[in-house]
Every structure is written in C-alpha cells, then in structure tokens.
Symmetry: C2
Subunit: 340 residues, 2 copies
C-alpha cells in the first residue's frame, strides 16, 4: 500500500474534512445533506426541499450486547438518524432505507427484533421503511439513510453556520442522562441510585427520541417580524461538542453560563455531573442559536427548553468558553474515537 497516514492517525474530524473535498462545496457542513432545489428538480417546480442523512451503527463500536438488546439497537439507529433530520429543520421523516450487514450465523430473531425496534420508532415519530440491502460480513451493522422534507412556508432549514454574535444559545432538554444510563449498563462505579432513576437513565440511553416537536415549536414561536435564521445541530456528540460546532461553523465563540447548565436532575449527586452534561453525548436534544426574542418565545412555548448562553464574536480562548471569564471549556479526556 502507498505511504501515508491511517484513518486512526487522521481521526474522524480530519477524515470527514478530507472526504468533504469530493462533494460540492458546503455539502458536508451540516448534520445531514440538504438537496439543493436545483439538484433535485432543475425545472424548479414545487416548494419542496429534501434532506438526506446517512448514519452507520456498528456492533462493538456504537452498541454491544451488554448494553442493548436488538430492539433497542433498531430503535436507537432510527432515532439517531431522524434526530439529524430534525436538526436540519424537518418536522417529520418520509422514511428510511437500511443496509444490513451481519455474519451468516446471526439468528434471524436478532434481525427481526432490530427491525421491530426500528419500525416502532417510525410508527411513533413518522416515516416508513422504504427499502434496503443486506449482506454477509464479519460484524453486525446497520447503515441507515433517512429522507426528510423541508416545506417552503413552514420555516427554512436549520444550518450549523447561521449563528451570529448576540444570538441566544438554547437547548431543548436536559443533558447527561443517557451517559448515566450507559454507566449503569456498564457497571461503572456509581453512588447508590434509586431503581426509578436507573430505569430513566437506561431508557434515555436505549430509547432516544428525535425532537420533531421542538422543530414544530420553533416554527410556531417565531415572532412575525423576525426572519427565519436559526443555527443548530443535535447533541448526539455531546452538548459541548454541539455548541462548539455551531460556533466554529458560524465564526463565533459560544459562551456558556455555568449556572444555566442543563444538568439532568438524576445526575445531581454525581461528581461527573458537569462532565456528563457537557460531554456525555447521545441525549439527542437540539442545540440552537437564534435571535433573543425568538429564543425567549421558544423557551416560553416548549417545556424543558432553556437558554444556556449566547454567541459572541470569536474570542482568543477558542470556540467554547465560560461566560464568567473562566476560560475555555475543554473535554475531560480524549473523548469518543470511532477509529481508535
């Protein structure tokens, strides 16, 4: 083979940056791909834009038999995909295709349960199974591609790079509970937790929900005089990663208020609470930057939503800092690496 770095040496961020060079400029900048009207329909009819999102979920990378049953795997894979559609501004999903890879000795029952979980999520949150492909392989995985609609007149797209200094930073729910669920499932050292708390945490980890309702509320809460402009992504990689990502894509710095951190109440007694809220990941909430009066209206309208900070012009400390002058917010450790 030719000389050069391996994927592990590049890391995921640099790999995605390099792959983006094969696509039209700007095409790789968001949670999902926006099909420009001229790509989709050169004749320019209709008012429809489509959003397409592909997510791969791999055994022993994204899930394991120790933390999830097959039904959870299917539910979660579909939920993660639809969450990316919501993060682009879709209010529902048209449907999805599934590329299934599994070793020949995989029980049919596992596959049946995974598809049952997947179609349960679709039945609850919209969309149908459109098609797919299957193949043998050494490892179980689902490669899912979901398709969503953006309708003109029902709000525009949500893009990562549309934040401006002065925007409020809003998230649609508490963070850290999914990470607590993973800790319970992995038997990590934890203080004693009530059974109900454990159950809620495990549920958050196994059965996340795409926040289409938040997109609906976003549209409904927009003050008439304010034009559509919202930056956003989902918090699948963690709240801090989401805020940082909006800041970088928009050329801003995100300032987070420490006393407004959206800690899941179940984390209160834990030393890791702040880390898990910021970096735990997989809560699948929306993190949005928008004009302050609109942000206030959204917080008013959608229970659980809160302002966690605001955007400013880029600061020397980096894309993500504490608002009290406490400096850069950085991850507690190396974080999750798909290619390690």
């Amino acid at each position: 083979m030719p000389e050069g770095p391996t994927l592990a040496e590049l890391g995921e961020t640099e790999l995605i940056r390099r792959l983006g060079a094969f696509a039209p400029r700007g095409q790789f900048g968001d949670d999902a791909a926006l099909l420009a009207q001229d790509l989709l329909d050169p004749a320019g009819r209709g008012g429809l834009q489509l959003v397409v999102n592909t997510d791969v979920i791999v055994e022993d990378v994204h899930f394991s038999a120790a933390t999830m049953g097959a039904t959870d795997v299917g539910w979660r894979a579909a939920a993660a995909n639809l969450s990316d559609l919501a993060a682009m501004g879709c209010r529902d999903a048209v449907g999805l295709t599934v590329g299934l890879v599994a070793p020949g000795d995989t029980p049919w029952a596992w596959v049946e349960e995974a598809y049952a979980g997947l179609t349960q999520l679709l039945a609850a949150h919209g969309g149908v199974l459109l098609g797919g492909d299957c193949s043998g392989g050494r490892q179980r995985l689902l490669a899912i591609t979901a398709i969503g609609r953006l309708e003109r007149g029902h709000g525009g797209p949500i893009r990562r790079g549309d934040a401006q200094p002065g925007d409020q930073l809003v998230c649609t729910g508490a963070h850290g509970l999914s990470r607590l669920g993973l800790a319970v499932l992995r038997d990590e050292a934890l203080p004693a937790l009530a059974p109900a708390v454990q159950a809620r945490a495990i549920g958050a980890h196994r059965r996340p929900v795409p926040r289409f309702d938040a997109v609906e509320a976003l549209g409904a809460s927009r003050p008439e005089e304010i034009p559509w402009r919202v930056a956003g992504c989902d918090s699948s990689d963690g709240l801090a990663a989401a805020a940082s990502c909006l800041a970088l894509a928009s050329g801003c710095t995100a300032l987070i208020e420490r006393n407004a951190l959206p800690l899941a109440p179940e984390l209160e007694a834990l030393a890791a609470a702040e880390d898990w809220c910021l970096w735990g990941g997989e809560d699948f909430e929306l993190v949005l930057a928008l004009e302050p009066t609109w942000a206030a209206a959204l917080v008013e309208q959608l229970p659980g939503t809160r302002c966690i900070g605001h955007m400013e012009s880029p600061q020397p400390e980096g894309p993500l800092i504490w608002s009290d002058g406490g400096g850069a917010i950085t991850p507690p450790s190396a974080g999750f690496q798909h290619f390690s």
Copy 2:
C-alpha cells in the same frame, strides 16, 4: 439468544422477503424504492417522483484486494447503485451518500482512491456526493444510497411486476464478460486469451456502467400509440436471474431462445460461455419485457440491444424455460450466497 434459523440458513431471498414485511406492502418488490408521491409530498404538487436505492459492498464478500484496486471499488460501488436507478426508469442520478466503515489501520490513501473512483463514476454518469457517515469496524465496506428522479411526462417507472404474456424480452448488451474478467483476475483455468481480450474482460468487471442511455432510448423509441408499460431490472445478479425475477414478479414464464443468447464474443471459445452468459452476473445491463413493436423499435435504436425471448402465461416447468421445449433453465451450481 432465542431459537430459530440463522441468516445463512434462511438465505438471502427469504431474508429479504421477511424484511419486506416491515415495509408498506409492495415497497420491497423492485431494484430500488419508489417514493410514492403521497409519501414525498402529501400536498401533491409538482410532477416529481423519487427513487432511492441502497447497496452495501463489503470486502471479502463483494470485492477483494486480489481483484480490485480501491479506485475500482469506488467506481463499481457507485455504478452498481446507479444501475439500480436506471433499472427503475431514471435517466440520471441526483446524487448519493456513502456510509464508510473501515478498520483504524486502513491507509487514508485507500479511502482517497475509493472516493476518487466513486466521484469519477459520478462525473461521467451524473450525480454528486451528497453526504455520508464514517465509522471504524473490522472490515472495509461502503454502504451507498443513491437518489434518482422520475419525471412525469418523461416515461413512467420500470417495475419488475409489469410484464405480460406476449411481451418481448430484451437485453441491452452482451453478457458474461464481467465473469470472464473475474476468472482472469482469479487465475482460474482458462484457454489462452489475447491480452486485449483479457483487458476488455477485466475492464467489464472493474468498471461497469449504469445504462441511463438505455432508459433514454427506451423513452425515445416508444411508439406514440403504446402506453408506458415496461417491466425490467438490471442483470447484476445474472441474465437468467433477471429474466426469472421479472417472470416471477409478473406471474409469467420467460422463454429464452438458445440461439439468441447474448454471449459476449470474447467468450466464444469457452466451455463455460453459456453458463457465464446466463449466470455470471455483474454485467449491469438492463433486462426488459415490453410490447413487441416497442421492443423492435428499441432494438433498432439502441446498438447492442437484442430480443432474447418472450413472456408467456406461467408454464409448469417454472419461471424460466428454453423456447425450443428444452425445459427449465437452472443454475449450474449453488450460485452466489452472501450469507454462506
């Protein structure tokens, strides 16, 4: 795990049948998924239907370093996907997303070459890279989802189940050359072949082409008085499998004329010529069943296209028989099994 069959015990055909039960009725019946107008746009505007196709291509199942370089892998993966769009009646592709899975020690150069091959195919035959996802995993694979358009007024969809007794069976090119290329690459026992023949065979195997031009010719050759009705699929799984598949989906029997077999001329001296023509696979031509005057017009218009038989009402010998009364056409061996 629960009792029950494994995927290897079920086999691919039965697995796909069972997975189809999770989708709306009829959704799994074709080479690709047709997005019904009411799914795509409940308001029913515009004249656009979309086709979505997912194909997974896995190292050591669909390709190996012995038979293909990375550039070929990318080209071929994209070509196979776009061929399924052509088989649904699309004249071009909007674009595709790629789910890339590879071990961390994979050289970036391999990925770069695969995406270069993929975008070469797109540049030559239409479509752009829309987005994707990447993950570590034990085995290299590409899970590709392509999106195509069907425009009202430019011919309807091509569906497997639309054949009728009396239809001519047409294919758009010679068959068996890709299989010969695989034999050369695998050093299978072969008579001496001229270097130019070897090169053409290897090229056919590594660099198939989606037959969008054939769909264009199909539309252009339709006699005005004949309504749009074409059954078809591509011959990725072999010419005989394609004809059999149309017959089964349409409730017909396909009769093949032995002396009209579209043997690639490079196979002439080979004992396996007929087997490879019928069962070799991966030639990615279109196999169509259509009204005889339209079929004749298409053969006239599109060089390389020929009639290879016709459709009749279902015969006791099965879905695929020789027209000279020679009985059922059956595969020479167990055929290719993805889950073995």
